[in-house]
């Protein structure tokens, strides 16, 4: 069972879920911008998962993003944004 971490924010209109790697620069930039803009989000650092959870997390990413690349961002359980996309992130704070 994955245990996503939650980061509070003043913008809660959208459900923002991130699959990230702790070592990745683009994942770090994505989290930093969300935080700077005050967008609330949940995330799972896939490389930090132990044992079966790592495979589980990988399978979840693959469902959304067949390339299994990071960051993979799921919006409102329906849209998927792949990679660091400043425009998509800024949009979250303006709605």
């Amino acid at each position: 069972m994955l245990e996503p971490k939650h980061v509070e924010g003043i913008h809660n209109t959208h459900k923002v879920f991130l699959y990230t790697l702790t070592t990745c620069g683009w994942c770090r930039k994505t989290k930093a911008l969300l935080q700077e803009l005050g967008v609330a989000y949940d995330y799972v650092d896939v490389d930090d998962q132990e044992g079966a959870n790592k495979e589980l997390a990988k399978q979840e990413v693959l469902k959304w993003n067949p390339a299994c690349s990071f960051p993979t961002i799921i919006l409102d359980d329906k849209d998927c944004v792949i990679g660091f996309s400043e425009i998509s992130i800024r949009k979250l704070a303006s709605e």
Binding site: L21, T22, T23, C24, G25, W26, C27, R28, K29, V46, D47, K58, P66, A67, C68, S69, F70, I82, G83, F84, S85
Partner: protein, 166 residues
């Protein structure tokens, strides 16, 4: 918290900057960003035993991940097409001069790594060669000698990144 000290990150980052420059490559001019990637490489070295790309999920098995050990097999193709490698540790001279910004690019690595059949490239058969010719999969450097060099003199990739070319 990171297991890697700032001093160690600075030391490795400094060496990579010099090695890159000597070989005609450039490290991302955003020093903070680049150092974080170096920290990621060192974290992966502790975690997996090799410097797997910080922006890719390594399998933990070195043989399966050889293509994504930094510098990865895809760096030069990505530099040509996008001006940055996948994690953006290496960038084009244009980006290094600050004339263009590095962006997040798609991963050209096949999911799960290169298929086993692609591992052995088709060899060019030339009769009468005194030595086999070895090719560095990272930068394409060729050399004719009994065994590949321990370290590629151009890109510093290890011996295990060489394939028999002729």
């Amino acid at each position: 918290m990171s297991r890697i000290s700032d001093e160690r990150v600075a030391e490795v980052w400094g060496r990579l900057v010099l090695e890159a420059r000597d070989a005609g490559y450039s490290i991302n001019p955003d020093d903070g960003f680049a150092r974080d990637l170096v920290r990621g490489l060192l974290e992966n070295e502790v975690r997996y035993g090799y410097r797997a790309c910080p922006c890719r999920l390594a399998s933990g098995e070195q043989e399966r991940d050889l293509d994504l050990v930094c510098p990865c097999d895809y760096r030069d193709a990505d530099l040509d097409e996008y001006g940055t490698c996948y994690c953006a540790l290496y960038v084009s001279s244009e980006i290094s001069r600050g004339e263009k910004a590095a962006t997040s690019i798609p991963d050209r690595r096949p999911v799960g790594g290169p298929p086993a059949s692609a591992e052995e490239m088709e060899r060019v058969h030339v009769a009468g060669l005194t030595f086999p010719v070895w090719r560095c999969k990272v930068c394409g450097y060729l050399c004719a000698r009994p065994q590949p060099p321990l370290v590629c003199p151009v890109c510093k990739a290890g011996k295990e990144r060489f394939e028999r070319f002729m």
